[in-house]
């Protein structure tokens, strides 16, 4: 078993920035990732709101070039929710670039990418091997699982997909994407609508916190998206995931030191440091929220469960 695990390479990936960061900050973040972070693949592109996409457009080429020059593969992520004409056009535009590797986050992109190699993103509902087989026939080469997948299903899915020529990826760090809506909740909180939002979401680089009536931190709002307050942390489950056949481990970007986060996860994947030491280093980042790992254990997503490898 151990030999099989080591024979497969484990790649660390960086998911798309989900938040509306200032474009210069966005560019500099990726420049630093290119220069310093031990990630093999970087997902770029606006996933949440079509209105934000033009803000990053001027920086896009330079960022992609810098990442590529640093030896990282670049995948362009598409919108997670596609409904209006503008959203359809944005997705079509991304898919029209035949040189680009595209990550599909809504079924609309599948129509454009049929027969072409592509990635399937975590906003797609891929829960079982039959769905993987359908997607693989259409050209899917990598699938990032939904965040709520429990370990039992991850294991069963990986066992069946190994023969389909599809690699399987899962998020291991960052706030959990929990819901999408047609409505912008950033705009709503400020008495505006999606059309008149004036990009109010730019003030919350990790999402806008929602607290319960008892002032308990609960969720984070990011435009049309709702995320967990907690940060997913599967540092203690990496070895189990490797054993199951997961080969790509996704970090979801936040305003904390993502180069450091990447280094810690890389060190555990390479067995250079033990889990307790890595966990202590992650604690030392002093994030503004606790860690959770409940989905992995089939428990409430917000819960923290002791890893079996501890």
């Amino acid at each position: 078993m151990e030999i099989a695990v080591q024979a497969r390479t484990s790649e660390l990936t960086l998911g798309p920035v989900l938040f509306n960061w200032n474009p210069e900050r966005w560019r500099d973040f990726y420049f630093r990732i290119a220069d310093e972070a031990p990630v093999g693949c970087v997902y770029l592109g606006e996933v949440i709101c079509f209105k934000r996409a033009p803000l990053f457009e001027p920086q896009f080429e330079a960022v992609a070039a810098r990442l590529t020059a640093a030896g990282k593969s670049v995948v362009v992520s598409t919108l997670a929710e596609v409904m209006s004409k503008q959203e359809c056009q944005l997705v079509e535009g991304v898919c029209a670039d035949r040189a680009a590797m595209v990550e599909v986050n809504d079924v609309s992109a599948l129509l454009h990418l049929r027969g072409r190699p592509h990635h399937i993103g975590p906003f797609m509902n891929v829960y079982n091997e039959r769905t993987v087989a359908v997607l693989a026939r259409g050209g899917a080469r990598n699938i990032c699982l939904p965040a709520e997948m429990p370990a039992a299903a991850i294991g069963a899915l990986c066992a069946e997909t190994a023969k389909l020529g599809v690699s399987v990826e899962t998020q291991v760090f960052g706030r959990l994407p929990l819901a999408l809506s047609a409505r912008c909740y950033h705009a709503r909180a400020h008495g505006r609508s999606k059309d008149s939002c004036k990009f109010i979401c730019e003030n919350d680089p990790d999402g806008m916190p929602l607290h319960t009536l008892e002032d308990q931190p609960f969720l984070a709002v990011n435009g049309i998206q709702t995320l967990s307050h907690d940060y997913l942390n599967l540092i203690g489950e990496l070895a189990d995931l490797q054993t199951m056949g997961i080969t790509r481990f996704r970090l979801s970007p936040h305003s904390c030191d993502m180069v450091k986060v990447a280094a810690i996860f890389r060190a555990v994947l390479d067995r250079r440091i033990a889990v307790p030491e890595a966990a202590a280093q992650l604690d030392a980042l002093k994030l503004d929220a606790p860690f959770s790992n409940g989905f992995y254990y089939g428990k409430p997503g917000h819960s923290w469960n002791r890893a079996s490898t501890h």
Binding site: N128, A152, L176, G294, G301
Partner: protein, 338 residues
């Protein structure tokens, strides 16, 4: 051309949580009823609801004898390793002769299309197909004949969509309305450990708690999280995360961060929806009582018949069901809702 000729006669698709509700809906004039089996293969997997295989068979006979169709919802997402249960549900639907299965998962759709090529497939709202491209993908890949649209499009957008897709459209017109895109929400799982997509459960009753304080204010709770609080005179809503009240930095007071607790009522938009090319009008509420099903189905039956014959539709009887509760046209009336 008269007003009546501008419409095509829509199918009225009604909820049946139990065999008794199914008979009630059929008797009240439903053209079709939709229901699910007693397990996690459908998105209303609640205790006391849904059909045993024998009940489904008997209900099919009852409905078919009265020219009503029966649609079986197999509209959750089977987690890997557990697909057999969903496969059995589809096989059973084909064997018993249901008029269509309502599917969301691509694996289930592919299974149904391959094993039972004559079985009619409807795409569940849980598939979240909200664009012409997405709908065309499902039609081409699995031969889907009808799409149940997400509750996020305006009537104008539905009319536009109708011209761009090769299948029928079913749209929700009345009932409970969730704020999150269907099939793309794991808020309930985050709090309770039961998944809407995989288990067919949202805000399970076992995790719901009501707590009264000394002043008789009632806090409603899901798992460890307070969802809302009601003064003694107010009627307390069921704690659903997307209908709760929360604090954020932009507001001084707690507010409904996602939406006020409202229910959908598109009765006033019925003529517009029919003109937009909607083939089937769907009423939500498999968890509702027979009395409710009877009132709502009868009201919409009369309204559709009135409109088809060029008369004004009357909805007075629906008022009793929404009285004291707030209602909305949601996204359907225009883009400002977003």
């Amino acid at each position: 051309m008269t007003e009546a000729q501008a419409y095509q006669r829509p199918e009225l698709v009604c909820p049946a949580g139990t065999p008794a509700a199914l008979r009630t809906a059929v008797d009240a004039g439903a053209d079709a009823v939709y229901c699910g089996l007693q397990n996690e293969t459908n998105a209303r997997n609640f205790p006391g609801l849904n059909f045993t295989p024998a009940e489904l068979e008997q209900s099919l006979s009852y409905a078919h004898a009265r020219n009503a169709k029966v649609l079986l919802a197999v509209n959750t997402f089977p987690p890997a390793g557990r697909f057999a249960l969903w496969g059995e549900a589809v096989d059973r639907a084909a064997r018993l002769g249901v008029d269509a299965v309502i599917v969301a998962d691509m694996g289930v759709a592919e299974y149904a299309a391959r094993r039972h090529p004559k079985l009619r497939l409807h795409l569940s709202v849980q598939a979240g197909a909200s664009s012409p491209e997405a709908i065309r993908f499902y039609c081409e890949a699995f031969g889907v004949k009808r799409v149940v649209l997400p509750r996020m499009l305006t009537v104008a957008e539905i009319a536009d969509l109708h011209r761009q897709i090769p299948c029928e459209i079913e749209a929700f017109i009345f009932g409970n309305i969730g704020m999150m895109a269907e099939g793309r929400c794991s808020l309930s799982n985050y709090v309770t450990g039961a998944s809407t997509n995989m288990d067919g459960v949202c805000s399970p009753a076992a995790d719901v708690h009501y707590e009264e304080d000394a002043e008789r204010n009632l806090t409603t709770r899901l798992g460890p999280f307070a969802i809302d609080c009601f003064a003694r005179a107010e009627s307390a809503g069921y704690p659903t995360i997307c209908k709760g009240r929360y604090f954020c930095s932009a507001k001084n007071d707690a507010y409904y961060a996602f939406e006020e607790p409202v229910s959908l009522n598109l009765s006033a938009l019925l003529p517009d929806l029919m003109r937009a090319g909607v083939t089937a009008l769907k009423i939500e509420g498999r968890q509702r009582s027979r009395a409710y099903v009877k009132s709502v189905v009868s009201a919409f039956r009369n309204a559709v018949d009135d409109l088809m014959e060029g008369r004004e539709a009357a909805f007075a009887s629906l008022l009793a069901l929404t009285e004291g509760r707030r209602e909305t046209q949601g996204a359907f009336a225009g883009k400002r809702w977003r």
